[in-house]
């Protein structure tokens, strides 16, 4: 092996360590994204890190208006015109993988985080 080969190896190793550090750091800081879906389409994708104040979001649904509130920690359904109000009772979601769904109005809130390993793959309800 010539000197240049060693240099190449060194460069690759340094790159590898830098790259690894970059990804590790990135997933440690909160990368949570709030995803709001209505009728199977994404209405909003909100990186929670960038949220500075409690924010209200109104979604026009079948029976009227559904109000979602979110802050930098999570989101909840404040008001829904659906009859059973299960979504309102579900409260605030803050952890990756948690969801609030209003099935009658077809609204879904989820918190996702790129490449985060959850404790369970799924929960049977």
């Amino acid at each position: 092996m010539r000197k240049a080969d060693y240099l190449l190896v060194l460069v690759l190793v340094v790159l590898a360590i830098l790259g690894y550090g970059f990804f590790a750091l990135r997933s440690n800081s909160t990368n949570k994204i709030l995803i709001i879906k209505h009728d199977n389409t994404v209405v909003e994708r909100i990186p929670l890190k960038g949220v500075t104040a409690e924010t209200k979001l109104a979604i026009n649904v079948q029976d009227g208006t559904l109000i979602v509130r979110y802050d930098k920690n999570g989101a909840w359904v404040e008001e829904s015109p659906c009859p059973d109000k299960i979504c309102q009772h579900q409260g605030k979601i803050t952890k990756t993988g948690e969801t609030v769904a209003c099935v009658p109005e077809k609204v879904l809130l989820t918190i996702e985080e790129p490449q985060k390993e959850a404790e369970h793959d799924a929960i049977l309800k």
Binding site: L12, A16, L124, K125
Partner: protein, 333 residues
């Protein structure tokens, strides 16, 4: 020797940066069959995963359409069939015929697909939070007697007795989840996948890290807690029937949606029944059946049925776990 050293360093560098063997994940969630269904597919490239998932949802939608008792989607769907009760033999969609034929082949009197009228009564009372009278239930039940419907497999027709009405709530979602899983399996690019329909889950393939799929079962009395965790391998389906998702209360008594076909009233004694087997459709069928049966009888049935395991919690809070789950189920603390 130096070359070996060089190669080792190069490969390990690439591995650390994650350029090699990076399994991609694609997931999509949709509202279907009166619930939320999430499909997650794993493989090397994003595009084929997306295409396979879209196809799987399409297959699921087809099942949803033919089994919907409340709305018309096709000329030969369940809604159309129920409208034609008492009008002789009716040509039905092949998919619907398949679900009916398969389910009838189990021959268990505690699963009755002709409870449509009874369910209608409960839904009407659920809206204004009242309890139907025994007479009301008896009248509805009289439309669900043996012979309420007959299937002619060769002609592809079903005959409904006058006033009879079919409801496939016991199996439709499981059948849908299974159909979606079969569609995903057709795509070799999908290395592993999870179809999650809330109470019905199917896993195919093995996760890249080789670890088993971890499926939590919700605690029936505390939605923030778990009853326990199942660790499952390739090609396994699980379904849970419980009294805690769809119900209403009158004077402190809970009226849930799983009807005992003999009494016409919500089944009592069990609060959560989970069935584990290979097909999501069969799992759905058994979770309903195990919920309705007295728990001793249910556990006996599980032990005597091949490839069937179960976790059942009774109304006293006692948890029953079938013998085949010894190393696969962990009770939550």
């Amino acid at each position: 020797m130096r070359k070996v050293f060089f190669a080792v360093v190069l490969i390990s560098s690439l591995l650390t940066t994650g350029c090699f063997f990076q399994q991609k994940e694609y997931s999509d969630t949709r509202f279907l069959m009166d619930t939320l269904i999430k499909i997650t597919a794993y493989g090397e490239n994003q595009e084929p995963l997306e295409a396979a998932t879209t196809k799987a949802f399409k297959a699921l939608q087809a099942v949803a359409d033919v089994t919907d008792p409340y709305e018309s989607h096709l000329e030969d769907d369940l809604y159309a069939l129920n409208q034609k009760a008492g009008q002789g033999s009716v040509k039905v969609n092949p998919l619907l015929l398949n679900i009916l034929t398969k389910t009838e082949a189990f021959h268990h009197k505690q699963i009755n697909l002709a409870l449509g009228k009874v369910i209608e009564v409960w839904q009407a009372h659920g809206k204004d939070k009242t309890v139907p009278t025994k007479e009301e239930i008896q009248t509805a039940l009289s439309t669900a007697k043996p012979g309420a419907f007959t299937i002619n497999e060769i002609d592809g027709t079903v005959t409904l007795a006058p006033k009879a009405s079919l409801d496939l709530g016991a199996v439709a979602k499981g059948y849908g989840v299974e159909t979606a899983a079969l569609e995903l399996k057709k795509h070799p690019e999908v290395e592993a996948a999870l179809v999650n329909g809330g109470g019905n889950i199917k896993v195919i393939g093995t996760k890249k890290d080789g670890k088993p799929w971890r499926i939590g079962i919700q605690n029936p009395r505390d939605s923030k807690k778990l009853l326990g965790t199942l660790a499952l391998t390739d090609n396994i389906a699980v379904a849970t029937s419980g009294d805690y998702q769809r119900y209403y209360e009158v004077n402190g008594v809970r009226y849930h949606h799983i009807i005992d076909p003999v009494t016409g009233f919500p089944a009592r004694g069990t609060i959560s029944a989970t069935a584990i087997t290979t097909s999501a459709y069969v799992a759905d069928y058994y979770s309903t059946l195990l919920f309705v049966l007295p728990v001793d009888e249910a556990m006996k049935l599980v032990e005597n049925t091949k490839d069937l395991e179960a976790v059942i919690e009774d109304d006293q809070g006692k948890v029953y776990v079938s013998s085949g789950l010894k190393d696969k189920f962990t009770l939550a603390k």
